[in-house]
Every structure is written in structure tokens, then in C-alpha cells.
Amino acid sequence: MIKSSKIVVMGGSWGGLQASLSVLKELPATYPIPIVLVLHRLRNFEGSLPELYDSKTLLKAVEVDEKEEALPGHVYLAPSNYHVLLEKDQTFSLDDSELENYSRPAIDVTFTSAADVYGSNTIGILLSGASRDGSAGLKYISDRGGTVVVQDPAEAELDTMPLAAIDQVPDGEIMNLEQIQAYLLSLT
């Protein structure tokens, strides 16, 4: 499969699951950009998130496996209790080091790592949530010329995360879920 020069990294916590599902549900199975999704979950939670995303979207949803290649048409879910990093060769690395922002997986870790690899071709999207995780990562993406999108706090189930992001990256794009979806579709 042809690699993508771009990457979409998406993060959220409380309310992020529903928000991400509604953003992703119209994307075609042939969507040309890999999507990495970091949701805060209960540690040691043994859920079936990949099955959920697989059934509610057209994309192939998988939990990230270490050394796996980031491919188009996929949504890659961060596993419980591991940070997700990207390598220069567009494969994933997992990391079980310290919690960051009280969380593992942490959104900042993935956003920062993606920007190191994809630079200005990184698209960072931060959704609803009740923590400050993700805003430093968005700032990092923005500093490297990438695209920053924040869910409209007025629409978010919890606005702490989007508000923290807007505070950190005032010139990021603020969009509602419908606009985020349209934006992602416009990239095809």
C-alpha cells in the first residue's frame, strides 16, 4: 500500500469517543491519510474499541501494534496503558514510560512525535475532554507548520480540553464536528 506523506492525529477524553465517531463515520474506506486516535481510557481497561470503530466507520480500525506501519484507510487506536510514538519510517513505537498529564496513553506524546516525523504535514485535532492533555502537542504541531484544529468548545461535551488548546494555540482552527468532518473530506 502507498504510504501517506500526511498524518491525522486526533485526541480526546470525556466525550471524545462519540465526537471522534461522528467525525470519522463518513470517511471512505479509501481515505488516503492514516488517522491515529488517542483517547484517555481507564487504565487496564479491556474494551473492544477497535470493534466499535470498525462497525461504526468505513475505515479499518485497529489497536496500534508496535513496529506496525501507519497506512491509509486505517484508524489506529492507542492501546490502554501505552504511549504511541511515530518513527521516521512511518511505523509505530509503543512506550510504557511515565504517565504524562496523568495519562497513558497521553495525547501530547503522540502529537509531538507525529510532528517530529511529518512536520508541516501533520494535522492535529483535539476534541472534547476534561484535561489539559493535547494542548502542548498542538502547540508543537503548530510551531512546525502543521494544521491545528480544535473542536468548538460550545459544542464539546466537556470544554476544558478545547479551551486549554485555544489558550495555547490561539490561531488554531476552531470547528464543530460537522466542519471537522468536511475538512477531513476536503483533504482527499
Binding site: D95, D96, E98, S113
Partner: protein, 276 residues
């Protein structure tokens, strides 16, 4: 880190990795890069160092500082009874077979500060096997080995460790295994009476014994494919036939050259058994 400096960061780290190899004999060449870069940036921040050049100066001037660096860069975050289902499975599927041997030899590779080692020792104790088991606990880092030997952990983690212990099929009162003192707990040293603590570098050192069980959990994720392959072959050389190999939750033998000589004992808990 300033953006303009960052272009040089990775090049400087690569040069540093080579020099660390020459100077100290530690080879990080096979470590997955994203994590190494992140941990070095983190270390720079912690120590208030402005650049890799400053780090280099400090590292080569002071071997204590180097030990400290080694501890930070090689991830030493660990828990007791991490993934309790794994320990439950070890208890149910592996220990009964090991109990048929007159003596048992286990290698805990990358034992870090010892949380997993003590979890394992408690399991063996409860299955009546500890007295005839010898465990080799190894790590690249002498400092964490010393910590592991002491068996002192922070009391703040004990609630979650206790929950993990019972989820892992714990049979006794967990608090019976340790004494509390000033915010720490010290585990009973009889648990590690038959443990040999030994510095061993998976990236460069060779096989040193034959084992019935090797545990190496959440270590290989930090290595690249080539180094992983080296370590799998090392484990293969170090296991008796019908010996067991236990990996971390997201690690798999599937892509390795040794996979065909192993059977899956527990797929979700990553326990494998060497074919005869």
C-alpha cells in the same frame, strides 16, 4: 527546545550514541528512535541542560551522571502485578508444569527496579516452588539492580499493587509480604534469597545459562526490529526445550525468525512455549 536547534538535535544524538558505545560500551544503536529522542529531551529538561552538547560534556566528565542518564533513558517504569491476567495465567498454565521439575531456573530479563521480580517470587512462594527455584534477575543498569535487591517500594503504590495481587489470584494477606516504614514498604528479603542479580545487556551480551522460563515484558518495544531479532535468538539459545517465554502485552513472537519453533500457550497474555 528552540525550533532552530532541532534540526541538529537528532544528528547530535546519533553522534552521542556512537560515543557512548565507544566510551562506556553501551550500545543504543538498536533502540527505537522516537522513544530515545523523547527521553533525551526529557532528561535535558530535568537537568536544566540547554543542548545535547552540554549533555555530552556532563556525561563524559562524570560516571555517576552517566548512570543517572542510563536510568532515565532506559525506561524503568514498572509495577507489581502489571496486567494481573498475565500472572493469573502464569499461575494456571506454567507453574504447574514447572513444578514437575526437581529444580527451576528462571530469567527475569530487564528486571528494572524489581516490582515484577517480587510479584513473580510471591507467585512461586504461594505455589510452593520458591525454595527450589533460582531466578536470575538482570538489567543493563547496576543502579536499578541494587534497588531491586533491596525490594523497597513507595507505599503510595500499594493500594493498586494489592488490587493487582488479588486479581492475579493472590492467596494470602498481601500486607504479610512487606513491612511499612516512613512512606516506603520493604518486601521480605526471603523472597529474593535465591535470586542472583546480574548486570546483563540484551543488546550486546550473550547467553549465560539455560532456563525453564524467561520473562521479558515491555523491554523489546524499545528496540528496533534487528535488535529484537537478536534478543529473540538469545532467548531461544537460553531456553531448555519445552521452556516458556513470557512477553509484554503488546509484544509478539509472530514476526521473529524463532516463531515457528514456539507454540502459543496464551495468546492474549503472550506466553509461548518452545517446542521439543
Amino acid at each position: 527546545m528552540k525550533l532552530e536547534n532541532e534540526a541538529h538535535f537528532e544528528q547530535e544524538v546519533e553522534a552521542l550514541i556512537q560515543d557512548i558505545h565507544t566510551q562506556y560500551g553501551y550500545d543504543f544503536g538498536g533502540y527505537a528512535r522516537a522513544s530515545v529522542y523523547r527521553r533525551i529531551k526529557r532528561f535535558l529538561g530535568q537537568k536544566g541542560l540547554a543542548s545535547v552538547e552540554e549533555l555530552r560534556g556532563a556525561l563524559f566528565a562524570n560516571s555517576y551522571f552517566f548512570e543517572n542518564f542510563l536510568q532515565e533513558v532506559t525506561v524503568n517504569v514498572t509495577e507489581m502485578f502489571r496486567d494481573p491476567a498475565f500472572f493469573l495465567s502464569l499461575r494456571a498454565n506454567v507453574l504447574p508444569i514447572l513444578s514437575t521439575y526437581p529444580y527451576i531456573k528462571i530469567w527475569d530479563a530487564g528486571c528494572s527496579t524489581g516490582e515484577e521480580l517480587f510479584s513473580l517470587a510471591i507467585l512461586l512462594e504461594e505455589e510452593g516452588l520458591l525454595g527450589r527455584t533460582k531466578i536470575y534477575a538482570t538489567d543493563i543498569n547496576q543502579k536499578v539492580l541494587k534497588q531491586a535487591k533491596e525490594g523497597i517500594f513507595s507505599v503510595s503504590n500499594m493500594a493498586s499493587y494489592t488490587a493487582g495481587y488479588y486479581a492475579a489470584g493472590g492467596k494470602r494477606e498481601f500486607s504479610g509480604y512487606y513491612r511499612s516504614n516512613y512512606g516506603n514498604v520493604k518486601f521480605d528479603s526471603s523472597l529474593v534469597k535465591n535470586v542472583v542479580f546480574y548486570p546483563h545487556n540484551l543488546a550486546t551480551d550473550s547467553s549465560f545459562n539455560e532456563f525453564h522460563l524467561i520473562l521479558c515484558r515491555n523491554v523489546l518495544i524499545y528496540f528496533n526490529r534487528e535488535l529484537q531479532e537478536r534478543v529473540y535468538r538469545l532467548f531461544d539459545e537460553s531456553l531448555v526445550s519445552l521452556g516458556y517465554l513470557a512477553l509484554g502485552k503488546k509484544e509478539t513472537l509472530a514476526m521473529s525468525s524463532i516463531s515457528t519453533s514456539y507454540n502459543i500457550v496464551d495468546k492474549s497474555n503472550r506466553i509461548y512455549r518452545k517446542a521439543s
